[in-house]
Amino acid sequence: MISNESLLSASIATLHKEYPYINQFLEAYPFLSRQPHDQPLARILLELESQDEDLAFDAQSFLNQMREFIVQMQEFLGQNEGNVEVITVLPGRDKHGNPEAYESVELLKGTVTSIVGPTGSGKSRLLADIEWVAQGDTPTGRSILVNNRPPDTDWRFASGRKLVAQLSQNMNFVMDLEVEEFLMLHARSRMVNDAETLVQRIIAKANELAGEKFGPQTPITALSGGQSRALMIADTAILSSSPVVLIDEIENAGIDRRKALELLIREEKIVLMATHDPILALMADQRIVISNGGIAKLIVTTPEEKLMLSELEHYDRKMMAFRNQLRIGGLLHELKES
């Protein structure tokens, strides 16, 4: 266990050597970098005492926070990531207090589950239950198991690692950065070892998903809707710390949705997808039907349904061809039957 005393006797140089990630924490205290790096911290803090008010600096809380940061980082780096194999949703009750009529829903890693139901039926609450790792303590009374038991990790408060990552149509990039810079920033905040390789892989994958190509130097805010979606999905699949990915519809424009799902599956994510698009719903292994705030039933996609998928995809391609015909300025009836 690290003590405040041991931190006080260390110099800034030693801290950097022993805890390479301490940089992230010290960045918020730029005035410290102007202090001699070879002096014990205790001495530096003593020197700073006279300016505490000006710097809005409190040595005691600084020390406590630094210790907390190191302890958490050591835990974070020591833990085996990607170890969530299965999430189980145990029944609670619907909006009227009726018990939910299913036994349990299992969400396995590398599989896709779609969620269907009218707006306001309780899709968000289901997600929130999973994210909060509900233990019968939410309005639905549901319980969530992680790897078949009540979770031992404190998923609720671990700020470095949330259970659920989210992708929705309303999300936009807002940072003023180029694609590569942006991904490097994300990679650094996740403290991965081979950041550069990962970043290149994300760009390559995103380009496979996107209809139109983009380069590492494209500003992220200049990406088209389809390109943004592709980059968000590739980034979430490869770099996000969260084992569960929630997708709120993927519009059928400028992105290969089948490839997008395949990428998430290959990266062993547990994929949940709220959708009313029959093609997407059929790409899922199972679907949860929600009504009145409760899970009404769980349908496993049948072989008959899977057969319909190719028919639906045929119509889909046809629509795409018409759309393309419009884009290039042609007449719709001139499009040949495919």
Binding site: A56, A165, F173, V174, S189
Partner: protein, 232 residues
Amino acid sequence: MNLITISGPPSSGKTSVIIKTAAQLMQKGLKVAAVKFDCLHTDDDIAYERAGIPVKKGLSGALCPDHYFVSNIEAVVDWGLQNQFDVLVSESAGLCNRCSPYIKEIMAVCVIDNLSGINTPKKIGPMLRMADIVVITKGDIVSQAEREVFAARVHAVNPAAMVMHINGLTGQGAFELASLLMTGRREITSLKGSKLRFSMPSALCSYCLGETRIGASYQMGNVKKMNMEEQP
């Protein structure tokens, strides 16, 4: 009564988060009231009233809002005690990044939003660094990557805090915040003798007293000068 101090930069979503969280607390049968501290103008009291939350508002006008807050919080607490509220939420806008409105042993929540820029966590002083809970809002409109980067930055300046995401429009996450607040609750009967977690920004110069003229000869008291030479 439980006192909860909530603070955060202007327009970060404090009022929305409080109203959505209060609704959850009221569903559990608790009596919730609020006090809104601001500088020149606020309509948030109307929003609170509409939500059925008794509210007092205080406008600091020409004074530092932080100083105004600390000089008035005791009377506000007495008001809450007299009315037998279970939970009293004080909301104050962090109008300068040096704001420091938290009180020792009183639950402190900082609300900050994903759109404020990734360097913002570094710029905010005690208001973020000394909070017990940090609520991040507006996560529904930025990418997952940006949410993760922002949360990591918040974590770097306040590793001890619990960090959570709330959507102020839909209220997603408010139930969870309400449960957290109730787990960490602490009954108080007075603020007499309580102490601030950190000293407030200070000012005591001729401009505080209404001076408007510019020039060294008009500057008296606690005056601080930029060092123009040392900077590159």
